[in-house]
Symmetry: C2
């Protein structure tokens, strides 16, 4: 099916033009991040097979990895029962997180406090020209 047929099946209304996208590593099933797409970002993702989101803070399309080189290649796209959430299985190059971790979910709550469990793959100060902002 083509991109416009897919876009029509996604409910963008509930979140004012956006849909949340769970991004999962196709190789090891790790959850890499949660981001948002508008219809245009979804169309571009399907056309290029490279993940493209809508940045809520910058209010524009955000081609993942355009600055860092840490791109995500789309392997498979799934839709949930209500049509208001997507699951993208991807091939992640480098780190998904702008803080240099493989996954954005690198902190876990424990009885003693919040603990970093992810491995830092790069120093963000060396990758981004300006202060990273997602």
């Amino acid at each position: 099916m083509n991109a416009s047929e897919i876009v029509r099946l996604v409910d963008f209304v509930k979140m004012g033009g956006l849909v949340p996208v769970i991004v999962q590593d196709a190789k090891n099933c790790a959850i890499l991040m949660l981001a948002y797409m508008n219809a245009e970002a979804l169309e571009e993702t399907l056309r290029t097979r490279q993940l493209c989101y809508y940045s809520r803070s910058r209010k524009k399309l955000w081609r993942k990895g355009e600055e860092s080189g840490h791109t995500q290649e789309l392997v498979e796209l799934r839709l949930d029962c209500d049509g208001d959430a997507l699951l993208a299985l991807v091939r992640q190059k480098g780190a998904a997180c702008h803080e240099g971790y493989r996954t954005c979910f690198f902190r876990t709550f424990t009885e003693d406090g919040i603990r970093v469990i992810g491995e830092r793959l790069f120093d963000p100060n060396k990758i981004y020209k300006k202060q990273p902002k997602q």
Copy 2:
């Protein structure tokens, strides 16, 4: 750390009092669903160790499995880099999806159309007294 310390670390502002929660099967890493919590739902989840959400359609707390018996026991809770998304690792009893599938993401986009890939574990008409609504 206690529930109120955890709640203070979560950014509920970006989504008007809610935070999205990715729910992952702690046993096999499958993504089960995406749901939302307000601060009260997060506190209750941490207190009872059973997943409790905020239903956007019913506009009230939604204790997962209260009608179906398909509860989710909290194993671990992770926070993302921006503090505006949670990842809950759970022990799922039965099916996560109100349509009877183990996971809500039981449909995948293929070249030929949308295809059901999940196994249906129960018939929702036999479980829910009224039309299921999440």
